[in-house]
């Protein structure tokens, strides 16, 4: 069976005044039907730009400058804007981090859902209203018919995120991108949303790309994981393999710098320094200036992603892996 999502050598460049900056540099991955790929990294690593590139939502001065993205064998990056409107919100949908900024504050939840359902499923006004209310019920919003008439500000944060999920799922997408969907929520609400997410994915058999900075969330929701730093892939493989025995020094440092419940240490291991500014990344490996295992060649040559033997579909980009 062919993977639903195939991304190959994706490159996105921002043409800044100070010169071009490659925010996403040769990213490749595949997602099978019903599978969840977690993308993890800190702010500025390019994880959100990757998603926006796939949704074709990159605006000037940014541009997708290379690579391929196919959804069920159909190339997406070559579509014009009219064709793209048929795909976006239909076959592929996205959930954003902050529902308050992603939803239109002056339109009701129902209006915003109808708009999408009418366009993609070509339903009559009455049927699309029924569909919208059915979706709101599916995501566990109480008194869905009333909430259909509500404006976004009348809902709590958790309910707004549920409404966002209902909207994204309303046209049966094959591919769903969730960009930090629970980061703005409290932990008990986060647990509710993650639970909802899993049960719906099981029912609808979607391929999901789940973006987060939280390794704990990654561990609980994703089958496979991609770790990014400085716009490049550090490591990819089965989530539990990566978390239990990281090979890339950055992955290992990320895991160690997080306090873990039940495992007390006196001092946390830290990653020295900060993520460099766009034009200050080292020429070779982007992590070279913060890495404890740096080799002379790391400064000059970009490490290629190489397969790790003994694991299923595992690869790491490092000259001196753990």
């Amino acid at each position: 069976m062919n993977p639903v999502v195939q991304v190959k050598d994706l490159e996105t460049t921002f043409f800044l005044k100070s010169g071009p900056f490659r925010a996403v540099n040769k990213i490749s991955y595949e997602i099978n039907q019903g599978e969840t790929l977690g993308i993890v990294g800190e702010s500025g690593c390019g994880k959100s730009v990757t998603s926006f590139s796939l949704m074709r939502l990159i605006e000037k001065p940014g541009k997708v400058t290379g690579g391929e993205f196919t959804l069920n064998g159909k190339s997406i990056l070559g579509l014009d804007e009219r064709q793209m409107e048929d795909v976006r919100g239909g076959k592929m949908a996205m959930i954003f981090q902050e529902p308050m900024t992603a939803l239109n504050p002056v339109l009701t939840i129902g209006y915003q859902m109808d708009e999408q359902i009418k366009k993609h499923l070509k339903l009559s006004p009455k049927d699309s209203r029924d569909r919208a209310i059915e979706m709101l019920q599916l995501v566990g919003i109480p008194s869905a018919a009333e909430r259909y008439e509500s404006y976004p500000h009348q809902l709590s944060g958790g309910m707004r995120q549920r409404a966002m999920i209902a909207m994204a799922l309303s046209c049966n997408p094959e591919f769903l991108i969730a960009d930090e969907p629970t980061t703005a929520l409290d932990v008990t609400i986060q647990a509710q949303i993650l639970e909802l997410f899993q049960s719906i994915q099981e029912k609808m058999k979607m391929s999901v790309q789940f973006i987060t900075h939280d390794l704990g969330v990654i561990s609980e929701v994703s089958d496979r994981t991609l770790v990014m730093y400085g716009g490049q892939m550090c490591e990819t493989g089965n989530t539990q393999d990566i978390l239990n025995s990281p090979r890339h020094p950055y992955t290992a440092a990320l895991i160690q710098s997080r306090p873990k419940m039940g495992q007390r240490v006196n001092r946390l291991k830290t990653i020295e320094g900060v993520v460099p500014a766009p034009h200050e990344f080292p020429k070779g490996c982007p992590f070279a200036n913060r890495c404890g295992r740096v080799q002379p060649e790391c400064w000059t040559t970009k490490p290629r992603l190489t397969t790790v033997t003994g694991y299923d579909k595992r690869a790491v980009a490092c000259f001196n892996p753990l």
Partner: protein
């Protein structure tokens, strides 16, 4: 007997809701209700809870950024809640605060040097040249360079800005620092740097911290004792070891089991806690947690449970139901 640096009794903070042309008071947000709390010298006391539980309001009321609606605060031998004028200003040197958002809490039009110098100016301590030397020392103490004095906050990353706020907070050699979510806005690798810095400073400067956070794993890492808050009240208070090995309030348990953990594998999430936090304008009757609680009995909606010790221990909880102590059965 433990040396108590701050003791708060019966602290309440209500915010009025005003509406209409005459701004009549139509109700109250009961952000903090009847809190009794004592902080021991040299310890880190954690306040943990979800948004809207009153943890930040409590922190700000203790430092009198908000005036308490009721209650007394004994701080380092003084009746802190009753002080005013120059007495209050003098005592405030000993109690400082670090805020969550290092972007909003530093004046963007002041240089780093001016920001860290400000406390000395306000309190009229040290001559100009001494102040400048001290500012440089402070910057180095928090891991920045003395040469950074003439830069502006926007030239720094989030983690470095939080270091600037820490330098400002420790400038006057305070005894107690209230840290209000100091690492929540930072990336994981930067969080670890700031948490380590706070620990080092506590040892070197003999500081006492009140550490406010919504993140239980951060709280477990830094705190000696922990108070769990829900809707304006403390529902459980215990030492770190006791709380994490033997949580006795249903809310504490729900909070702990909601936290995603590394290495447990992709698991079927369980329905842990249904519903949302109720409004503090109109809190539920009896125990505020009862509408969401899976252990509730009839009395829970009628009786407001007081915070009482469990047996003869220092572990206190506000719940009338006796939970099984075997945590494995629940988690």
């Amino acid at each position: 007997m433990q040396d108590i640096i701050l003791e708060a009794k019966g602290i309440k903070k209500h915010f009025p809701i005003r509406k209409g042309f005459f701004m009549r008071e139509v109700g109250q947000v009961k952000a903090v209700e009847e809190i009794n709390l004592s902080v021991r010298r040299g310890e880190t006391l954690g306040l943990v809870g979800e948004s809207g539980c009153g943890k930040s309001t409590l922190g700000r009321t203790l430092i009198r950024l908000y005036e308490p609606t009721a209650g007394t605060i004994q701080f380092d031998g003084a009746d802190f809640a009753a002080l005013s004028g120059s007495d209050l200003r003098k005592k405030r040197r000993d109690i400082q605060m670090i805020f969550q958002d290092p972007y909003a809490s530093l004046d963007s039009r002041m240089t780093v040097g001016q920001i860290v110098e400000q406390p000395f100016k306000i309190h009229g301590i040290l001559e100009k040249n001494e102040r400048e030397a001290r500012v440089k020392q402070l910057l180095e103490l928090v891991g920045l360079k003395a040469s950074h004095v003439n830069r502006y906050p926007h030239e720094f990353s989030g983690g470095q800005r939080q270091r600037i706020s820490i330098a400002r907070a420790v400038a006057l050699d305070p005894k107690l620092i209230i840290c209000d979510e100091p690492v929540s806005a930072l990336d994981v690798s930067i969080q670890a740097q700031v948490l380590n810095l706070l620990k080092d400073l506590q040892e070197r400067l003999k500081l006492t911290y009140i550490f406010i956070s919504h993140d239980l794993s951060v709280i477990e890492h830094v705190c000696d004792r922990i108070a769990v808050m829900y809707l304006g009240r403390i529902v459980e208070l215990a030492s770190r070891d006791e709380l994490f090995s033997n949580p006795m309030h249903p809310y504490t348990r729900a909070l702990m089991s909601s936290i995603p953990t590394i290495g447990t594998g992709k698991k079927k999430m369980q329905k842990i806690l249904s519903g949302e936090i109720p409004s503090p304008i109109n809190p539920p009757s009896g125990c505020a947690f009862h509408p969401r609680c899976s252990y509730k009995i009839d009395e829970c909606s009628k009786i407001l449970p007081p915070l009482l010790p469990i047996g003869n221990t220092e572990h206190t909880k506000a719940c009338i139901v006796n939970l099984k102590t075997n945590l494995k059965e629940i988690l």
